[in-house]
Symmetry: C2
Subunit: 298 residues, 2 copies
């Protein structure tokens, strides 16, 4: 299958690797405004050749949009304008509602699948691309009733090829849940990095940083080019999630300040439950008629 | 060398493994009030035998105290009462000032080395013990002028045997820096776990949790038995660190709310600097006459 990937960074590049290896993609075309990235992507074999945006979206079976969400918003409509009836377009951005709304009346709306694979690392660029980045992770498909069933089926097949499981949500639900489990952790890590840097000498941070600090602050390395527009596009829900987080931090802080050690113990015990949740049995939920139904388990 | 380890959990058990392997310890005696842990520690070969506290601290070369910091506070003085002139006692707790103050007038104060190896995982108990847990990490030695130089030298040798580098600080400095780079990340992770659990269904958390969320929230799995007393003993500095963190979160949140996107970009850019700090050259600081002096690099 001819596959066009727009954006040859961590996500697009990693997807290229696995789609080629699995033979889902037999021909890989790359599009990237960054000429250094484009050249590197051909050099390390992520794609077969580079095309301009206009040429890259013609006569192709599937177009994968893997660029920062502000750039997606700028070109998605133009891409839908330029494709044939038989081309599927998928975007992989972390925010969905604004993207979906931007093309809701487009005549080719049913060719478009808004999706979000819950996977990544704190690194970026084609050299950051790795195999099996998506394996065992979940991909969210949004508002599937607004896409053509053939296009949905092809995208489901693609994610399954990558070893992913699929959850179905509305774009609004995905933006809310993702604010809490992904955007908030990034905001928390950025703020932790700033807080520690404001108080401690950089040499002391480095020397004393244990695995715990490194783990908690890891996401603060994530690029602003990717994350700044995510925060802009999901402003309402990220602010909501930060308000909830600050409230919980304040409660923890007040327990300490006021020597309310029983309550402090309860807060720690409740937080410990996250272990059971993260290590629990997978459920792979599908939202169906307002009820959560078990889709399948491995 | 005969080595007694009090507390056969993650830290004591991991230390036992490496000290035996390196032949620093030729005879390993374990002390643990938890009989299940004690039995397991002998069964999996962490120690040669179990003794009572009173017996375990007699006729031994070095005593390693690796129990929660509230328990340390209860028995440290009693341990110093019971040892011979030639026994070195080291504690590995995460808080230092309260521990040091509790024995400041003890006649055997110079046998005691307050230390803190900056290493661990979110797991606990003898089964959590792993080899090389301390390798490449830093050990803090506090108030070394108050310990006998032979005892300091033995402990330095022990940490170097474990592959650790050593930083020298006052107990108060260690409590302040550790509040920011270790205790605050734990409080942040506990509060993040509580915030997300309060708003999202546990199945949704599980299904959507990517590597990023897992990393940021990992420390929230850490046991209350270990962490509750750390927060109690370092209350002042942890509250200070949480106030700084909440201030930075609030600033990030306000930028989002008020659409101050230029400042949001600056906050992300500043946070990104943590990458350079964490990946920088090691400096291994020694506090000497109020100046930071490079001790050695690898």
């Amino acid at each position: 299958m001819r596959t066009t990937i727009i954006g040859l960074g961590l996500i697009g590049g990693s997807m290229a690797k696995d789609l080629r290896k699995s033979k889902f993609a037999t021909e890989l075309i790359g599009v990237d405004v960054n000429e250094v990235h484009a050249k590197k992507a051909v050099e390390i074999g992520l794609v077969d050749r580079i095309e301009s945006l206009n040429k890259g979206i013609k006569n192709t079976d599937i177009i994968i949009l893997a660029i920062p969400v502000d750039k997606e918003l700028q070109i998605l409509s133009e891409i839908l304008d330029g494709i044939s009836e038989n081309t599927t377009v998928i975007d992989l951005g972390s925010t969905k509602k604004i993207i979906v709304d931007s093309v809701k009346d487009h005549p080719k709306r049913r060719n478009f699948i808004p999706a979000h694979p819950m996977s990544g690392t704190e690194n970026s660029g084609p050299n950051a691309a790795i195999e099996n980045l998506f394996k065992g992770k979940i991909a969210i498909l949004c508002d599937q009733q607004d896409s053509g069933p053939q296009h949905v089926a092809l995208v489901e097949k693609m994610f399954q090829t990558l070893g992913m499981d699929i959850a179905y949500m509305t774009a609004d639900e995905q933006d809310h849940s993702t604010a809490f489990v992904s955007h908030l952790p990034h905001a928390a890590a950025y703020s932790l990095a700033n807080a520690v840097q404001s108080k401690e000498d950089r040499n002391i941070i480095f020397d004393l940083a244990s695995g715990g600090f490194r783990s908690t602050v890891r996401l603060a390395k994530s690029s602003g080019a990717m994350w700044h527009p995510i925060f802009q596009q999901n402003r309402k829900y990220v602010v909501e999630s930060m308000d909830v987080y600050i409230k919980h931090l304040q409660e923890f802080r007040d327990c300490m300040k006021n020597e309310d050690d029983d309550k402090l113990w309860d807060l720690i015990s409740n937080a410990n439950k996250i272990r059971g949740i993260l290590e629990g049995e997978k459920t792979y939920l599908i939202k169906n008629e307002e009820k959560l139904v078990k889709l399948y388990t491995k």
